[in-house]
């Protein structure tokens, strides 16, 4: 009996260890972020999406979880109604954040045809 219980417990531990986290819900802020490798010490917060004069505008809140300065790289990818990129790739931008700082990055779509976006983030 004791052996059986141990086996069940071991199986449960193994199964939970192998479980992958569920994918982010479509349309959620997390689903818009493409982390290029492990995202070290940069936390993505709220996102504000608006259309100004026909152009999609995105504001993203980012927080440096370290107490020291942190540099990261980012760019936006703009997608059309079919989910494919509608413009040339943007240039990567380098941004420095002070320790424990929260700041915002802004992106403006290059064309009014953009209906969705992805934020590509890379931490060195």
């Amino acid at each position: 009996m004791r052996f059986k219980l141990f086996a069940v417990a071991a199986l449960a531990v193994l199964a939970s260890g192998c479980a992958t986290p569920p994918p982010p819900e479509p349309g959620s802020a997390a689903s818009k972020v493409v982390a290029m490798g492990p995202q070290k010490h940069i936390a993505v917060g709220a996102m504000r999406v608006a259309r100004e004069n026909g152009f999609m505008t995105v504001n993203v809140q980012l927080t440096n979880t370290l107490n020291s300065n942190k540099t990261f790289y980012y760019r936006f990818a703009w997608l059309g109604p079919e989910g494919f990129p509608i413009a040339e790739e943007e240039v990567w931008k380098s941004q420095m954040m002070y320790g424990a700082q929260t700041s915002f990055i802004q992106g403006i779509a290059p064309t009014p045809k953009a209906v969705d976006f992805r934020l590509e983030l890379k931490t060195p």
């Binding site: 100004e52 004069n53 152009f55 505008t57 790289y73 760019r75 413009a87 790739e89 943007e90 240039v91 990567w92 931008k93 380098s94 403006i108 779509a109 290059p110 064309t111 009014p112």
Partner: protein
């Protein structure tokens, strides 16, 4: 005879086995890189600065709502007030290209293109070489509603440990008739090298 054939066959096998299947030719020290990468080879004005300035200015201008109805814009060269040589024409060309792609503006012949435009009109109308029905008529060029002009300046500071360069790029859109600046924006870039 058999030995000779076998030798040739073995040689052919070896040669085909060693054949390079990679679609490249030449030195392994040369490679193509990402044109959108952050370039930090030196702290002089570089490709990333040019791309960031053009991107930021274009998006800001297109989104401002000033360019309603695809107005005609005349682009002037960006004044280089820095101590470096910067091909500022490339900045304006990139801005023009991106605005054109966004579908928000049309561009009149600028200073450099104007001479070619006039030469072509003269050639068509005065040389007698072309069929009358296909000749572009004079007096139909579209005048610009706005002019776009800007400048780039820099502040450079050096110490024994640091070199700090601060660039400021300014761009403004001016209504030709009224002379009023309808839109303005700036992009600041700081680059620091620690020795």
């Amino acid at each position: 005879m058999f030995a000779r054939f076998s030798f040739i066959a073995v040689l052919a096998l070896l040669a085909s086995g060693c054949a390079n299947t990679s679609p490249t030719l030449g030195s392994k020290n040369i490679s193509y890189g990402d044109t959108k990468a952050v370039e930090t080879v030196t702290n002089e004005f570089g490709s990333t600065d040019l791309q960031m300035i053009a991107e930021s200015m274009t998006r800001s201008l297109a989104q401002s709502g000033v360019l309603q109805g695809r107005p005609v814009v005349q682009v002037y060269d960006v004044k280089n007030k820095t101590s470096e040589y910067i091909d500022t024409r490339e900045i304006t060309t990139t801005i023009k290209t991106q605005l054109m792609k966004s579908g928000t503006a049309r561009f009149a012949s600028d200073n450099t293109a104007m001479q070619s435009q006039v030469d072509q009109l003269k050639l068509q109308n005065q040389s007698g070489l072309y069929k009358k029905s296909t000749v572009a008529k004079t007096g139909n060029m579209i005048a610009a509603k706005y002019r776009l002009e800007g400048s780039i300046s820099s502040i450079v500071k050096r110490s024994s440990d640091y070199k700090d360069v601060f660039y400021k790029f300014s761009l403004q859109l001016i209504d030709v008739e009224s002379g009023l600046a309808e839109w303005m924006d700036e992009k600041e870039i700081r680059k620091t090298t620690e020795r």
